[in-house]
Symmetry: D2
Subunit: 283 residues, 4 copies
């Protein structure tokens, strides 16, 4: 194993950096990277620590159970991630292919540190892409008020495949709060607008109506409130009076692709700490 | 005189380009530039025509009265602009200096084709900058319910100085509908957010709360509805979890400067046609 | 057929717009779009004219032979493009997959108005992607001084498949002047640097050495001089001291993809006129 | 005093973070910020440490002489900066005003943590701006082979005013190696091109000739080799075939302003460590 990443958040207090870095130094770890952020408004401290995995001389369990005591005394809220664990990721889609294509292609090119054991869709449209990339495809339509039932089937599939991250790659269904709360902080959505502008449906038509000169896309963690979860990444592109709604949609596709893939990458590299409704991202 | 610019909008119909360009060619004008836009959704046609001013062999009055007939037959909504006319511009400010500095500096560097005969403020704070650049400064405070009266004084000053364009360079007062309707399409405002996100007050604090990863600024024509007028220009800058509201404000200043100066430039170069609540901008 | 596009370049002279637009208006054509550019330095005029194809009442041959006379009298250098013609495009690649993936994916999503009857590579590496997208793949290695022979085989394939555009989608072989001159203005290359910086090999390592704070990519028409042909499109991305050469390569991939696909789109939509070593692009 | 900033560079080795952070923690300092970078290629470690200045219980001399010993044992190359010290900065200009205006304006708005006791120019052109902002202006022309003499006069002025940073704000003279070596790492230049493209003179004309689709500007530390010093900041703007060399110059001005002011800010906030010919910048 190459790396061990600790993500830590806690109340800010004097001496915390020396305290934590000495803890790991004393255990013989080389600290390869250490990023910190102090939120001086909320008085909170955030840290991402990358240790050299080859320095681990005990079991992982021993490492963690020792750190639990250290953390408890200092009110640390933490998680640990080992680089030899490849998280299992489920892609959820509807009829739009560009984000699905992009993620599968990046996965093929080893840009995304994960496994993709399945794709779930509420439409059969994109099955041919799943076939192209040889990923199992499950079509679970939403119809006739079967939404709760459909979501349960999705959750069952996620559980069965030990999914740690769900990517809504233009999945055009609003998920229930129950579904989202089953995986808090582990569902990434791409919204095709520069949030908080144009929350909800049909943002490109509304952007056209408003006559904006740039359009954008936003990747965020899904929460029970639609399009209001912690933002991970955003980007924009310049448009003009010439851009019809269809043209905006086409231009937007490239932004969505880039923004979603960056957000997924940050998550998979354990660079994100959620802080109430904001994200701390250590690049 | 070097150039004559015609701005034209009308219902779209076949043959209109040949029709208009032949009209001017037959009068002996060299067409230096011709930009067009067809709004296929609203079925409207827009044109910006730059003629060689040295080809004008009649009086301006004769040119215009002849064109009036041509235009009426074709339902053209039009305006004409002669390059030897330098529009008179009034800057309105409050306490924030960066946009004022930027516009005065660009004016000094001959980047803005206009005269700036006066600056109006509701606070005395920035008088020293007006002094630095030797521009008359009028302080007209808004207090104790004198708003209508104050606005009337402003309008009187605008009239007296033959002002053709008002630039709200971070003027922190909401103007009445009456004021705005006195100069429709001739008041440019800079809003310190990426509209339609964060309309209204204190956008940087709200951007911080929402945890956005980019902030922006928007220059638009002021209309009776606050921050809802036709957008002229927008731009954004990347921010991060490290950016406090104060830092956002500082980063935002550079975007505001650039966006406002671009919008003013487009207006002064007669590149903008307002089309309902959108702008057609011929760059 | 929906559209007919004329691309025209000629010496600039008075009345040319009215002259050309009247020509087509008199033939009963609705001019859907007309873009022009006057190069005041070289005194050259450029025009892109989109006609409503349903207004064509004669044969294409008749349209063209009539226009030939009109054009000769005015020294117009021109070409005409009918929207029901789908140009045939050949992708040339080596071992790097991201540009190939991107183009095939966009083609599948109907973003590129062309057919892709074949992919040619000097390595077998990417055949699996050609298979994924069901495009014939030809592996023609360059080895033991067989370069001239290999290029002849490529040219034979291009001829056989009636190829009108070759896209060097990270084809890591320098083409001979003979090859390039066989298709002047019809070979698009993507260079993984912001030209004219870092012409030639290994630009990312050199960008790292130089400590640049942004990296870029450039799409250009290939000419006999390596990386010196007319530039079509460029873009950049911000990097930092943290970016190793490998990281630059990864970041660069996204820029290359976007830049190449934009350039190809402009070409296929007949938006580009080459003017000595520069391009006029009507967006 | 609010902050003490230590900038440190040294060979990378295990335990260094815990080592240094414990050193300051043991002395009772709160570490407000700690940024690090490990250059895994050169095997070098870089650190920027911000201490709470109110925790300083000894003299500055005592702090430093104690740290000297600590540093020597670990081969640390370091500097210390106290926030109550306002560095004295000299602006050098020729005939172009936009960068001068921008820096003076930002200084007036308290964006730049420095004093500007003098402006030096080889032309009298911009004296009126110095007057506007009430900064002493020294005109030292370069003529008739007096360059060495002129440079000596400049150096004398710098020494007399205890200048710690020289900003070449479009100073159109090539400085001698002797001059530059008198203040290594303390002269910032703005080059009006995206280095390493278009080193040397007249970059905008050459950018026009080459037909680039973006132009840029680069702020870097001046070294004896013209336009080859460590890059601090770069940015670009999109241009088109319509942009004449004059238009490029105008567009470039806004990029130059922004890029230079960012670079100066990073320097004045002690965010930059020079590492051979590259810069590590802790934002």
């Amino acid at each position: 194993m190459k790396h061990i990443v600790f993500l830590i958040k806690c109340p800010d207090h004097k001496g915390i950096l020396a305290d934590i870095s000495s803890y790991f130094a004393n255990k013989g770890f080389n600290i390869l990277q250490c990023n910190q952020h102090t939120d001086t408004i909320a008085n909170r401290y955030f840290m991402r620590l990358t240790l050299d995995g080859t320095d681990l001389k005990t079991s992982r369990r021993a490492l963690e159970s020792d750190f639990i005591k250290f953390a408890a005394e200092r009110q640390l809220d933490w998680s640990v991630h080992y680089s030899d664990n490849k998280p299992k990721v489920c892609l959820m889609v509807s009829k739009t292919s560009h984000c699905l294509y992009d993620l599968l292609e990046r996965h093929n090119e080893n840009e995304l540190h994960c496994e993709i054991p399945l794709i779930i869709s509420n439409h059969p449209t994109l099955e041919y892409i799943a076939d192209q990339f040889k990923v199992p495809f499950f079509c679970l339509p939403v119809e006739n008020g079967n939404k709760a039932e459909q979501e349960q089937k999705v959750l069952d599939l996620l559980k069965k495949h030990h999914i740690e991250l769900v990517i809504l790659a233009r999945y055009m269904q609003i998920l229930s709060a129950d579904f989202i709360n089953a995986m808090p902080g582990h569902i990434i959505n791409i919204h095709h607008a520069f949030l908080p502008a144009f929350e909800g449906g049909d943002p490109y038509s509304r952007a056209y109506e408003r006559g904006v000169k740039m359009i954008g896309a936003t990747a965020h963690y899904a929460t029970a409130e639609l399009d209001r979860g912690p933002i991970i990444e955003q980007d924009v592109e310049r448009v003009s009076h010439q851009s019809t709604p269809d043209e905006l949609k086409r231009i937007g596709k490239d932004i969505e692709r880039i923004v979603l893939s960056r957000a997924v990458k940050y998550h998979l590299e354990n660079r994100i700490i959620i802080a109430s409704n904001r994200t701390v991202i250590f690049k």
